[in-house]
């Protein structure tokens, strides 16, 4: 557990959008997918997923429909809307810029200043 990183505030939405962009998923599936693509490095409390999912649905970035899962259980499946795809692109760009900036800032050496 201790090798898992705490999620930065605001990044959960981005991760959900990314996970769902790879194909329609139900809530538990989103969780698994995030674990899978992050190499199990991120810590998300399972219940915290749902307020975020509902928020994204209300903002029109995700749409939901009921279906049947691989386990043969009823589940609500989420997929990206057009607005969601656009938002994902923008967020990814923003995140990359931020990450680059932080990375370059942290890589600074005394002689460079």
């Amino acid at each position: 557990m201790s090798d898992q990183a705490e999620l930065l505030p605001g990044t959960l939405d981005l991760l959900i959008l990314k996970a769902v962009s790879l194909g329609p998923l139900h809530g538990y599936g989103v969780l698994l997918r995030i674990g899978q693509i992050s190499g199990r490095a991120l810590l998300i409390e399972q219940g915290a997923l749902y307020p975020a999912l509902f928020r994204l649905v209300r903002q029109g970035l995700l749409k939901a429909s009921w279906g049947t899962s691989d386990n043969n259980r009823r589940a609500k499946f989420y997929e990206l809307t057009a607005a969601g795809r656009k938002r994902l692109r923008a967020e990814v760009e923003g995140w990359n810029r931020l990450a680059e900036a932080i990375a370059s800032a942290l890589a600074a050496q005394p002689e460079e200043v």
């Binding site: 809530g27 538990y28 399972q46 219940g47 749902y50 307020p51 975020a52 649905v57 259980r73």
Partner: protein
């Protein structure tokens, strides 16, 4: 576990947060199930897997609640919270809440009443199916038409589906007991079909009933008349009754929702138009010249036919008729008007008047909103600390605005409901009001769903309007500044628009208060004025001798018998006959000429006096004082020299002075020389507010009159007298169908303009006063709360109560004084106009002036009472500690 889920679903149902919540619940448990499946696959036994899955999920309730809020599904809960909070806040300032609710109730009530009348008269005057395609035909701006012309229009037009017509008339009806005269419609055979009226009982009148004059002796009763006069007796259908002595058969009862095709004139029953002769006693139906046969023709336009096309179509027929009957018809210009208001002749002014009134009402509402807006602004300023604290504690501005708006809407809705309730009561009284006792005229203005909807919409809109005023204030609030320094008094401009608006409102209120007091005084005086006769302790009896079958010399003989019969009633002191009483909405003038005039044309006439044909005792019975000479006697008949009695104005106008008039001669238009044998006091003849008019009285034996009104004077109870008169006349001739009414009741018609003006001015004055009160209240409250700290310092420094009041309210009082003086001045000017409507209305009346000043002072006192109390009760210690 089962019990737990049962309990959960039960609580779910109790809080019934709808389907979303159930779905959410299902989704969360689906998640847990999936996790449990995975854990089971990794080797755990099912129960343990489920337990672990639950644990890993975390705070189930917490996430559910959070998800729910994310869905924004908590609208109702927030609303309930806001409403509860608003109620608590409003309870703390009951004066403010009451003033606001009352203002809105008045303003919205006024709008609802005016809209109710507008709705009833203009939007749905007849309440008939497909009213939008129903049009009435106006001939030269009024609906009157002759029967032959109607028939030609009906048969030759290509625009109407069918054309019906009706006339309004009066006839005596004897249905066994209590024969009386009633109002009815004479209708064409297709009338009910065209209007789409269904029978309630039996059948209606059909085209197949008509086979020429007097061929269809059938009566259809209106539902209301059947209910009140036949006690809902279903066996009336088929019964034979006598109408003006002719037997008619009741064939049915019209549906309860049908009140005739004229908005003002509700008939008691309907008979076929072809039987008009039996009503009038003379056959004029086939005369093309006689445009009194039909009151209005009306029908539905065919689909696709426009109003202009239909008018061109009718005009073409009119042109043909002009060519064919040049002797009888001219000016055959037709227009289409909305039916129900008697054509454009009445309809246009009514529409214009109602539109004006509606505008005025909306303006009143807007002014009320402006006032309440400033009141709310004052409150928001008072609460700036509260708002700042809430902002500082993390509340969002939207949330605070939402709460303020809820408060405003709450007030406006309560005000709207109170106003609507009052206006419904008023409208119902208005519907039951019969201003003219002799005519079945009333305003059928029962409110419908339209009225309710308009009131609610107005309430919501005005709530939003004045609720939005403090928004800017809240949005600008900087919590840090306010909490640190308290609300900073802003430096105001010297004269703001708000001040000007307030002065205008007060001035308007002054005008209304002045003119309503002038009108009230005028009305009070005219109730006890001298009309040249005394309507108290007397009963009027009218009888139509021609419809009862009396002709020629039989008429004066019958009149004399009636006088003798009525005089024999115990308690009756005198009985006089007159062709029509003064001030009964009837006037006939006769041209009179000086004795030396030879060319007797109207241009040479010396006067056009109101002319009355009277029996010898009329002057005594009417208590018209004879100033000189003698009254008539039964010897002033056809064999005696022609004589007349004149009033003072007649003497002045024709002979120069009363002294020169006695015994002098004048001429009538036919050349007859009439000698003046008596002179009576001046009186009122056509309307109360008229200029002094001349009057001439001629003996009924020398100038017989078919029209017969009896003035029966008695000191006894008029109710009993009425019954006695009815009985005696029935014994004399059961076909007389007399109209009997106490004279002062009949005067209601003459007093109608004064009453209407007084009531409407009074209501408007009340509105104006209410607006001024809230306006001043709002302004005073605002200035007091803005300067609370300054006032506290003044008090701490030892200022007197007087000084504090001047500082706090000086401006409000100044505005009040300016507005009141302007209003009083304008009101006095306006009252001159009022004198044309209300008899004896004059602003030069100390009582009126004192009343206005008192009213305005009272108004100011009332409006500034609460702010003044607040200013005086400022506790400097509290205030300084707080800051």
């Amino acid at each position: 576990m089962k019990l737990l889920s049962y309990l959960r679903s039960l609580t779910g149902r109790i809080f019934h947060r709808s389907q979303t919540e159930a779905e959410m619940e299902e989704e969360l448990s689906s998640h847990i199930q999936h996790r449990a499946d995975d854990l089971e696959r990794s080797g755990l036994d099912p129960a343990e897997a489920l337990r672990r899955a639950r644990l890993e999920f975390g705070g189930h309730e917490h996430y559910r609640e959070e998800s729910y809020q994310q869905l924004a599904g908590n609208f109702l809960e927030t609303l309930a919270l806001d409403v509860r909070y608003s109620l608590r806040v409003l309870r703390k300032s009951p004066g403010f809440a009451a003033a606001a609710v009352l203002t809105l109730a008045l303003a919205i009530g006024a709008n609802a009443v005016v809209f109710g009348v507008l709705n009833a008269l203009i939007l749905r005057p007849l309440n008939l199916p497909q009213e939008q395609t129903l049009w009435g035909i106006d001939h030269d701006g009024i609906g009157f038409e002759s029967y032959p012309t109607y028939r030609d229009l009906r048969d030759r037009n290509h625009s109407f589906e069918a054309l019906a017509a009706y006339n309004i008339d009066q006839a005596g009806l004897d249905a066994g007991k209590d024969p009386s005269r009633y109002w009815m419609y004479e209708v064409t055979g297709n009338y009910f079909e065209v209007l789409g009226v269904q029978p309630y009982l039996g059948r209606l009148i059909h085209s197949s009933d008509e086979h020429g004059p007097n061929s269809a002796p059938y009566i259809v009763l209106s539902y209301g008349f059947w209910h009140s006069h036949f006690q809902d007796d279903r066996s009336v259908v088929g019964r034979t009754v006598r109408m003006n002595k002719h037997p008619f058969t009741i064939v049915g009862v019209a549906g309860p929702e049908f009140h005739g095709s004229s908005a003002f004139f509700t008939p008691d029953f309907y008979i076929p138009l072809v039987n008009q002769e039996q009503v009038r006693g003379e056959n004029q139906l086939e005369q093309r010249k006689n445009r009194r046969a039909i009151f209005e023709s009306l029908g539905h336009l065919k689909p696709g036919v426009t109003r202009a096309q239909a008018m061109a179509d009718l005009d073409a027929i009119g042109a043909d008729l002009e060519k064919a009957y040049p002797q009888d018809v001219t000016h055959m210009n037709f227009t289409l008007a909305r039916p129900g208001l008697g054509g454009d002749f009445l309809g246009r002014p009514i529409r214009a008047f109602m539109t004006g009134l509606m505008l005025l009402a909306v303006l009143i509402l807007l002014a009320a909103c402006a006032n309440l807006g400033s009141l709310f602004g004052a409150r928001a300023a008072d609460r700036s600390r509260e708002v700042a604290l809430r902002l500082a504690l993390g509340s969002s501005r939207t949330r605070i605005l939402r709460q303020l708006l809820t408060e405003a809407l709450l007030i406006s809705l309560v005000g709207g409901v109170v106003g609507l309730w009052a206006s419904v009561a008023l409208l119902q009284r208005l519907s039951a009001w019969h201003p003219f006792p002799r005519f079945p005229m009333n305003l059928p203005v029962t409110p419908d769903s339209n009225v309710y909807a308009v009131a609610v919409i107005l309430a919501v809109v005005s709530g939003v309007l004045f609720g939005l005023v403090p928004v800017r204030q809240v949005l600008r609030t900087d919590p840090y500044e306010v909490v640190k320094a308290g609300s900073t008094p802003t430096v105001g401009r010297r004269i703001t628009i708000r001040d000007a608006l307030l002065v205008l409102q007060i001035a308007l209120c002054g005008v209304l208060v002045t003119s309503s007091m002038v009108a009230l005084r005028g009305l009070a005086r005219s109730l006890h004025g001298n009309y040249g006769f005394d309507p108290h302790d007397a009963v009027l009896v009218q009888a139509e001798l021609s419809t009862a079958g009396y002709r020629g010399d039989q008429v004066p003989a019958m009149q004399k018998r009636m006088i003798e019969t009525l005089s024999a009633i115990p308690g009756v002191s005198s009985v006089g006959m007159v062709s029509y009483p003064p001030l009964a909405m009837d006037a006939r003038g006769t041209y009179v000429f000086k004795d030396q005039t030879t060319d007797l044309i109207p241009a040479n006439a010396a006067a056009l006096p109101s002319t009355y044909y009277i029996s010898p005792e009329y002057l005594t019975a009417a208590r018209t004082s004879l100033l000189a000479g003698r009254a008539f006697t039964w010897h002033d008949d056809k064999n005696a020299p022609r004589v007349g009695i004149i009033n003072q104005e007649f003497a002045r106008k024709v002979f120069g002075s009363p002294a020169a008039a006695m015994g002098a001669f004048f001429k009538l238009r036919d050349g007859t020389r009439v000698q003046v044998v008596g002179m009576v006091e001046n009186g009122k003849y056509f309307m109360l507010a008229e200029d002094q008019d001349s009057a001439l009285f001629l003996p009924n034996l020398q100038s017989p009159s078919n029209e017969t009104w009896m003035v029966v004077r008695s000191g006894d109870d008029l109710q009993q007298l009425t019954a006695a008169i009815r009985g005696r006349l029935r014994d004399l001739d059961a076909g007389l169908f007399p109209y009997i009414q106490p004279w002062n009741k009949e005067m209601d018609g003459a007093l109608f303009p004064s009453r209407l003006a007084t009531v409407s001015l009074g209501v408007l004055g009340l509105m104006g006063a209410m607006l001024s009160i809230t306006g001043i209240f709002g302004m005073a409250a605002y200035s007091v709360s803005k300067r609370l700290r300054e006032l506290g310092i003044r008090i701490a420094l030892g200022a007197q109560r007087r000084g504090v009041l001047t500082a706090a309210l000086g401006r409000a009082f100044k505005l009040l004084a300016i507005g009141s003086v302007a209003g009083l001045g304008l009101g006095i000017l306006a009252s001159r106009v009022l004198a044309f409507i209300v008899y004896l209305a004059t602003p030069r009346d100390p009582l009126v002036l004192a009343g206005v000043v008192l009213a305005m002072a009272l108004l100011g006192l009332l409006a500034t009472w609460i702010p003044a109390q607040r200013a005086l009760s400022v506790d400097p210690l509290m205030l300084l500690r707080e800051e």
